[in-house]
Every structure is written in structure tokens, then in C-alpha cells.
Symmetry: C2
Subunit: 219 residues, 2 copies
Amino acid sequence: MSNETQSSTADLGEAAPGADGELIRSGRDATATRRALVRAARRRFATDGYRATTVRRIASDVGVNVALINRYFVSKEGLFEACMLRTSDELETQASTPSKSIDEVIERLIEHVVNAPDRDDPLQLLLLLRSSGDENADLIRRRTLEHFTRRLAAAAGWRPDDRESEAILLRAQLAIATSLGVVMLRTSAAVQPVASASGDDLTAPLRQIFGVLLGRSEQ
Amino acid sequence: MSNETQSSTADLGEAAPGADGELIRSGRDATATRRALVRAARRRFATDGYRATTVRRIASDVGVNVALINRYFVSKEGLFEACMLRTSDELETQASTPSKSIDEVIERLIEHVVNAPDRDDPLQLLLLLRSSGDENADLIRRRTLEHFTRRLAAAAGWRPDDRESEAILLRAQLAIATSLGVVMLRTSAAVQPVASASGDDLTAPLRQIFGVLLGRSEQ
DNA sequence: CCTCGATGTAAGCACTTGCTGACTTGATGA
DNA sequence: TCATCAAGTCAGCAAGTGCTTACATCGAGG
């Protein structure tokens, strides 16, 4: 019901959005179409799942011929893997400021969850739940999730090779599981009242959960 | 890797398991095959999703011809709807003891989550996240989840038409979202360390979360 | 024994899906 | 101007999918 077969080549418009304005937009920019394909694919894969997403649909989203997917990414699985890699990279750089307090990290995670249905990026988390059956992509997916877990756990006081703090790792993953569950219920499942809840309503309970799990403010 | 193309007609064996022992098992028992098909389908749908599940696969799981699916359930969507209905019924009767304390309800939910990867029934929760695109089945799915939410919320003190306790409803759904997230991470995503965590390790943090969310012991 | 309805099977149709190879189109430089 | 090559299109194949139709087989009643 949301976006159907329109949009044509529109998505290509913001390729090389003006970084230094050399390539104005010739309509024939390989890297731009590649990026547009990944963007469209990621959205589809995240919301509809791997199998339910067709390459024809992705191509039509971008307004480009299907054959380009095979030209640029070899196969549907190749495109999926590219999506995984890109998502992995983005999550990496987003969380690349290591010296954050646990409170800041929690606030960021909450914002991520709350904004998921509206913005594009937070759907990355959803994508990390999807599996294609491809070994490679699945490895990337799991590694990214585990990396994400360790980052969160580290902010909560977990240190590698410390048997005492091992439980923190598990708790961090429970926090991520909670986030994933909420995002799923809000986007895919469309279940009331979570789906229609305002961000403000969600923030308080989420803060409580994450606080309990990750020991907000030295608790 | 778990169950492949074997099993043949084995699943039919436990049809009419001995309720009153009239129909011994003729090998040609319509209701038994129907039940076996629903059981196999539910497992496939829950773990692999709707689109990735093929009717041929389900039929082969049971050891029966594909055409029977269309004979008994009209279509793949019909079979999916039957799965939803059955799951809805089971969750209904499981929680049909209304006068439970919130602590008991929480313990049950925890047990549900912890046992999900091993047993059959807890995967029902996972199934409730899957969508087929069929209007009817989707309605059942959402209604069941919302019903489940209200039950949990009611145990936590929520009363209909009470604006004050409206937040409890949201918190109950957050608890369900958490459960769903954990089950997903443990079964589908296979992410460490949650996937390999023992039930005991999970119980304590989960109890904490649900306690904070649902006000365990009059908090 | 034979008929008849119910249970199950085999073959295949119509359609989708991922993918391919040959082709066209546009930009660029000698 | 035009040869060249990358960027993109087109038609179609092979496999897979849901589903249907015609047929086989079993159990029971006349």
C-alpha cells in the first residue's frame, strides 16, 4: 500500500549528491545505480524478508532494468551480501566513538528503536535478523550482531576474558533482543498498541529495561 | 540440518493418539493427516517464514502427496490460516486460567521463552510474527497477539477503560516484544551467546525485565 | 462380488523467479 | 565524424512454485 510501481528513475536523482559536483547526473552513473540498488534492496530485504523480495521488484523500485542486478552483484545473494556489508559498515562507524558513557549509549539505542518505523537507517537492525541461506551473508550478519553486542556490553562494564562480567554480555544481547522485538512489532507485525505508540510513551519503559539490564548509572 | 526428507509417513503415526482408541490408524485417516499437515506446516512457517516454505516441502515432511494440501485447505494461504487458528486456540486454552498472580504468569512466560528452541509449542510465538499477505490470516495473527497482550496486562493490573492503567498495556506488549526478540535470536538468528545460553542464565535477567515492566510483587 | 464414496497419487499446467546472452544507447576522445 | 566502450535494455530460458485435473486404491454396504 505504501510505495508501488511508481518512482521510476527518481531514486537515481540523489546519486553523488553534490560532494564536489563534478558528475552532475548523467543518468548513466554505475556507482550511483549500484548505491541506489543497495538502498532499495536493503529496505525490501529488511521489511519483507529475503525470499519474499524479488529482484524485479528491487529493480523497479530504482527504475532500472533487472539485468543490472546480476551485472553489478552477480546474483540476488550477492546483492544481499552487499546490503549486509554496507549495514555492517554503517553500524561500525556509527558506534566508532568508544569512550561513551553507558547512559549515552542507551539513549542512542532508544532513539534507534523509537525512530525505526519512520527513518531508513534503523531498519538495519531488522535486516540483521534476515537470513538468505547464503553462508557468507549469514556469517556477516552474525558477526555484526555479535560485534554490536560486545560494543554494548563493553559500555556496560564487560571486559573480555573476565569470567565475572560474562553475564553482562548476555544482558547486552537481551537488550538488543528487546530492541529487535519492539522494532518487529512496530514495523512488520503492526500490532496495537505498540505500533501506534508515540516515541515518548516508549522511551520511559525502554529506559527502565535497559537501565536494569545494563546497570545505568552504576546501579 | 535437523530434519530432512526422511520421516515419510511416520508423523501420521500419532494421529488420534489413543483418546478413546476407536480409530486405530488405518493409514487413511483424513483428520489425522490434516492434523499432521498443520503440525508440519506450523513448524516450517514459524522457522522459515511463509514465502520460504513450499507446500511440497510440508507434504514431504508428513510423507503425503502435495495435492492433499489443496484438497483439505484449499490453498497454501488456507493452510497458513489453519495454523494461525490452531495456534490462537492453543494460546487461548493455555492461558484460560484467569485468576493467576502476575508472578505465576511471568514464570510461565519465562519458561516459554527459555524452552523455545527445544520444544514445539513455544514456536507458536514465532509463528505469530510471520505474515502471509493474506488479509484473513493477518487479522487472526494480530488479534491473537493483542489478545495475548491484554491477558498479560490484565494480570499486571490493567483494567479496560482505565486511562490511568493504559501504560500497563504498552508495558505488557514490551514484555512480549522482548520474549519474541529473544526467541528469534535463539532460534532463527543463532547469535552467540544468547543462542547457546542455558535456561538458568537467561531466567534471572528475564525475571528482572518482566518484573520491572509488569510490577512484580506490587512494585 | 461388486459398487461407491472417501482417501490418496501422478502428471502436468500456468505462472513466477533468478539469471543469461545478444542487443541498443549514450558519452568520449582521436 | 566515428570507432570504442561502458551503461543499460530486451527477450527468453530453466527451474521452481502453487494448484488442478484425471486416475488409483482402500474400506464398507448391498
